[in-house]
């Protein structure tokens, strides 16, 4: 009897992603047919037209039509996008092909901070007070009537690029000018009309957490709740350490997950991974960002799940395996994170300049509980600090019995690294 065909996953991978290896290797482990679609062509696309595809990520409807044409000869069983832009394209393709996924409107709402704030506020989800302003507005006048402290944000850039806190009118004017410079860089300005606007919102004090989840029929299944032990008080918002499990109390964790669930419902997200960032203070949780994609960078390596039923024996499943299984309708494991504490440090940019050398990697790896130190910046690469930059030079991973021990290991490993910048 002939074997039934393997299900085909259409994986939307932007060429600037950190995520290619994690997703491609997960697809291999699950033995699914994989077609990788990017916004720029692979040099092998003509030779392997069933495995590689170019889609117009800047035009989701056009990309959906391209995927539809492809699917006529190569049936697609599931689609997933790995970043904010690809998540919208994946939604358009899912709608066009009748696959599991989010609606385009929901994915767009998760993509654009102004649309997102508007929808969440309208549905009663706690978000900072916000206003959208054009780059051509009278900035001193805006500065005079803004409530402080505030945060200025681009509507769509990721990794906190361009996000700046201002504490007074002079600070507002300076922050506005700096963000405007970022938005007017040619490669950014070409991204669309949203680059002509700035979101100004109240600064919400309090510690920040990240909620990683898989949405199934509109309901969040929590995959991880991360504390961010380094204060994110500005003026810029480069992230550093994520630790799980969270050290918040059980009632606080329930509040946070409840807020995330309310946000998912408000935006109409229905299927697929989500990554939310929230603050928690005396008034409870505040939804800061909700993205219809998994955690970014190399950070997903910190999450491992007990395989359980539907999994692979006693092995641990990766986040990417769960996402692919879900997209293809394959049996899911228990969605329970392993019991040990885990953490990742997004290594801070040590300064502006060209990376000449990284020393101390072996010493950092030798720190007890540290599992790996990955330097993703290459020698000769220009390092750009936040808010203009958005690329971490690397990542440190650790696992241990308690979040405290993991945090200490991450910091100890980081202290052993020395970046030589020329």
């Amino acid at each position: 009897m002939p074997c039934p065909p393997k299900p085909r996953l259409l994986l939307l991978l932007p060429t600037a992603t950190y995520r290619a290896t994690a997703f491609v290797e997960a697809a291999r482990r699950l033995d699914v047919e994989l077609t990788v679609a990017s916004e720029l062509p692979s040099t092998f696309e003509q030779a392997q037209p069933d495995r590689l595809l170019t889609l117009d990520f800047s035009d989701p409807e056009r990309a959906a039509q391209q995927a539809y044409q492809f699917a006529r000869t190569h049936p697609i069983a599931g689609v997933t996008g790995v970043d904010d832009t690809a998540a919208v394209v994946a939604a358009a393709i899912a709608e066009r092909l009748g696959l599991k996924g989010n609606s385009v409107s929901a994915a767009l709402a998760a993509r654009d901070k102004h649309i997102q704030r508007s929808e969440l506020a309208r549905r009663g989800v706690p978000v900072p007070r916000f206003e959208r302003h054009g780059l051509d507005e009278d900035v001193p006048e805006l500065a005079a009537r803004t409530r402080y402290p505030c945060v200025l944000k681009p509507l769509r850039l990721s990794a906190s690029r361009g996000v700046i806190r201002a504490d007074d009118p002079p600070g507002f004017v300076a922050a506005f000018a700096r963000l405007q410079q970022i938005l007017e860089q040619p490669e950014v300005a070409a991204c669309g009309a949203w680059t002509r606007y700035v979101l100004v919102e109240d600064f919400v004090p309090g510690p920040e957490v990240a909620l990683e989840g898989l949405v199934i029929e509109g309901r969040i299944h929590v995959l991880g709740l991360f504390d961010k032990p380094d204060p994110l008080d500005g003026p810029f918002f480069e992230e550093t350490i994520y630790l799980t499990p969270s050290r918040f109390s059980e009632p606080a964790r329930q509040d946070i997950v409840g807020c995330g669930q309310a946000a998912v419902a408000a935006l109409g997200l229905w299927e697929g991974p989500i990554h939310a960032e929230l603050r928690y203070n005396a008034t409870g949780p505040w939804l800061i960002e909700l993205a219809a994609r998994p955690i970014g960078g190399r950070c997903s390596a910190v999450l491992r799940f007990t395989a359980g039923e539907g999994g692979r024996g006693n092995a641990l499943a990766s986040l990417e395996e769960l996402i692919i299984r879900h997209a293809l309708g394959m049996p899911l494991p228990a969605l329970e994170r392993e019991e040990r504490a885990a953490g990742v440090m997004m290594i801070p940019v040590p300064g502006a300049g060209v990376l000449r050398d990284v020393r101390g990697i072996a010493e950092a790896r030798a720190v007890p509980l540290v599992e790996d130190v990955v330097i993703t910046a290459h020698l000769g690469q220009a390092l750009v600090p936040w808010p203009e930059g958005s690329r971490y030079p690397g990542f440190i991973f650790a696992r241990g019995e308690t979040p405290e021990a993991v945090e200490a290991a991450l910091r100890a490993a980081h202290r052993r690294l020395a970046f030589v910048i020329g």
């Binding site: 991978l13 932007p14 060429t15 600037a16 992603t17 950190y18 290619a20 290896t21 994690a22 491609v24 290797e25 291999r28 482990r29 994989l34 990788v36 990017s38 692979s42 040099t43 092998f44 030779a47 392997q48 495995r51 590689l52 970043d83 904010d84 990721s158 990794a159 993205a291 994609r293 970014g296 960078g297 491992r304 006693n314 092995a315 641990l316 990766s318 990697i361 072996a362 790896r365 509980l369 540290v370 599992e371 790996d372 990955v374 330097i375 993703t376 290459h378 020698l379 000769g380 690469q381 958005s390 690329r391 696992r399």
Partner: protein
């Protein structure tokens, strides 16, 4: 030799595979691949790696300064990696050859002639693979074929490229499956962290 002088950096690919970059040459006679503890007999490093308790090592590949270890156990590389490092240091400090030279004209257990496969893969690389990756400033070097497993190294724009795994699995491996179906697998022994001019650099979430 003082083992403290030997620096080893681990570069996990996933929970099953990890590359160990050693500050000294481990084996200068090309690539050696060991797919079982029996095949490792006579090669002290490979014997030691297969014997690591709890690791369930299934494959060892040694080339130049690079040792690639494949394991079956779910144990994290954090624990296994330290045993691998100790084995490498111990063997290098002994002054003996870490691995035995590749046997001349060894027939693969599968009966496939690796030398013949090498020639066919080399022809494919020359005629098709390298002209394609050259468009992105890349280059793929065929290092060896052992037991029908192809070992390659990426260079130029491919080395450290964020899409290198897509090129490897969706491009090169797929072409090999079509043109040389006897090939059982493909192993990338590239030190991607040393790439200085990747065609695509990761930059976003």
């Amino acid at each position: 030799m003082d083992v403290a002088e030997i620096r080893i950096t681990a570069e996990p690919i996933d929970n099953a595979r990890c590359k160990f970059l050693v500050s000294l040459p481990v084996h200068s006679g090309g690539v050696r691949r060991f797919s079982s503890s029996e095949a490792a007999q006579g090669s002290p490093l490979a014997e030691a790696l297969f014997a690591i308790p709890g690791a369930e090592v299934t494959e060892v590949i040694v080339s130049g300064n690079l040792v690639t270890v494949v394991k079956r156990s779910a144990a994290p590389w954090q624990a296994i990696g330290k045993s691998v490092g100790a084995a490498i240091r111990s063997v290098l400090a002994s002054g003996h050859a870490a691995v035995a030279p590749k046997p001349a004209a060894a027939a693969a257990p599968s009966g496939v002639d690796d030398d013949a496969l090498y020639d066919r893969v080399a022809e494919l690389f020359d005629a098709q693979v390298n002209p394609m990756v050259a468009r992105h400033g890349g280059r793929v070097e065929l290092i060896d074929v052992q037991d029908a497993v192809v070992m390659l190294r990426m260079a130029g724009g491919c080395q450290g490229c964020g899409m290198a795994d897509v090129t490897l699995r969706q491009g090169i491996e797929a072409m090999l499956q079509e043109a040389v179906p006897e090939v059982k697998g493909i192993v990338d022994i590239t030190d991607h962290t040393a790439g200085t001019n990747p065609y695509f650099a990761a930059a976003k979430k």
